[in-house]
């Protein structure tokens, strides 16, 4: 029968060089907690990192420079792997979370890392030139399990998504990391968030079957949106509802085309594009349709990523199907994470 096992966490390299899959299969050992580097068409498996974790590997992330890989695990640790000539070596293990680590993300600067956990906290880590990692903040703002963390594309601003139905934002204020915004509106667990290329907008996806787009309003903004002190306010400017029939586990915002892609528990991947006449204050998004070459580029980009990630999943019974429906929502088996290769 179907199983909660076999979930796939993946991350894509910033430079498109390496595709990594974290696999969480249940015992028997030694397969539990294994990290595989990149099986798939035109790709060869370069390494199997089987010694780092004792439980499901939930997410993996390449550092911006491409030399390091971080892996977040249900065993409550995050391993940092360094690329060597003949493979990868675990250079350090970040400990401290009380239970399952759900996500890890590198800031664009490469000197900061964030992790989050079912223990409700978000941790910020700093790494120096000697590859020493230090926890610089433990943020206890969420009241429940934190599912995902992601960094702003060009500022040291961190976003987190939680089982408490909110998105929170954090930045450093006078040497201390603080929660500077809480985005409320979703009616159930928020599973993931993604910033657009500019970082002025954020998309969130939820168990409530909606995707919401939030826009940042700085103090003194011309729309007259109130701000508290010097902190910007984030307002929900779009609610995509009625498209998904089950939990939406992941959302990705393409920094090249502006398209949004979602991974849903109804086995479909959907691509949304902003309408040409969209007003930034009330943007409208629609499902991508057949007829434009621009869409073909978007879908090709998604399809090659997704086909690789779907086929890479170890086949328990049948091989997963990837096909195009007439609404161009890609059908894939139990889609979990999705991301665009840049």
């Amino acid at each position: 029968g179907a199983g909660p096992e076999g979930q796939c966490g993946r991350g894509s390299s910033q430079s498109g060089r390496g595709l990594v899959q974290g696999r969480g299969l249940p015992p028997p050992p030694p397969m539990a907690g294994t990290i595989l580097l990149s099986p798939g068409p035109g790709w060869s498996c370069r390494a199997v990192l089987g010694e780092g974790h004792q439980r499901t590997v939930r997410r993996v992330a390449w550092s911006p420079c491409g030399s390091y890989l971080a892996s977040a695990s249900f065993d409550a640790t995050t391993c940092i792997w360094k690329k060597q000539e003949d493979g990868f070596e675990c250079v350090t293990t970040l400990e401290g979370h009380e239970n399952e680590v759900k996500s890890v993300a590198w800031a664009p600067s490469g000197t900061l890392l964030a992790t989050c956990s079912r223990d409700k906290s978000v941790w910020v880590w700093e790494v120096d030139e000697e590859e020493e990692y230090e926890c610089v903040s433990v943020l206890n703002s969420h009241t429940q399990d934190v599912k995902h963390v992601v960094w702003h594309p060009n500022q040291e601003l961190l976003a987190s998504a939680s089982y408490d139905d909110t998105v929170k934002l954090y930045h450093e204020e006078e040497d201390d990391w603080v929660c500077c915004a809480t985005l409320e509106g979703h009616e159930s667990t928020v599973w993931s968030v993604a910033f657009d290329r500019s970082g002025e907008r954020l998309a969130s996806c939820s168990d409530d079957k909606t995707v919401r787009v939030w826009r940042r309003y700085k103090p003194g903004n011309e729309e007259g949106v109130a701000c508290s002190g010097t902190d910007p306010t984030w307002k929900c400017v779009c609610n995509l509802s009625g498209y998904h029939t089950r939990t939406i586990y992941d959302v990705a915002w393409c920094h090249l085309t502006g398209a949004l892609a979602t991974a849903c528990g109804d086995d479909a991947i959907r691509v949304f594009e902003e309408s040409a006449s969209s007003d930034p204050r009330q943007p409208t998004f629609g499902l991508a349709a057949h007829n434009s070459p621009r869409r073909a580029v978007t879908l090709h980009c998604s399809a090659s990523v997704l086909r690789t990630s779907v086929e890479a999943e170890p086949s328990r019974k049948k091989r997963p199907r990837v096909s195009f429906s007439k609404h161009m929502s890609l059908m894939a088996r139990a889609v979990f994470p999705v991301s665009f290769l840049e």
């Binding site: 029968g1 179907a2 199983g3 909660p4 096992e5 089982y163 667990t189 939990t247 528990g265 109804d266």
Partner: protein, 159 residues
Amino acid sequence: GPGGGAALENANPLIYRRSGERPVTAREEDDELPDSIDDREIFDLIRSINDPEHPLTLEELNVVEQVRVKVNDAESTVAVEFTPTIPHCSMATLIGLSIKVKLIRSLPERFKLDVHITPGTHASEHAVNKQLADKERVAAALENSHLLEVVNQCLSARS
């Protein structure tokens, strides 16, 4: 079971009669025709799950009933409502988890499962339902060998 020598929460549960065996139809006997999965088949899978506290099945305690099972084979969905015996039953999550695991292990992968508490019958139904609906929480919980053992005991056939 859990609690050792402590008093049972619900020491005198109501016990319900088991329904009989299902009659086999001619269509079902024909190997050429595909069997679609119906409410009764799902009920047959879950009715004999043991209650964690009492030496009785979920059917005997009326925790599960066929009328509270909804299957849509064409859409690959199964929804099961279960009724804890008392509104503050601390075993509700465990019972829901046992039902979920039994269905996961028995049904084809294509099925999407929704297991939740019969509305109005438990003090923490929203919190319990939310946990049962979170596949990551369910998966992580089942990696706990002690919890898995308790679930397996609920799912084992009684002699």
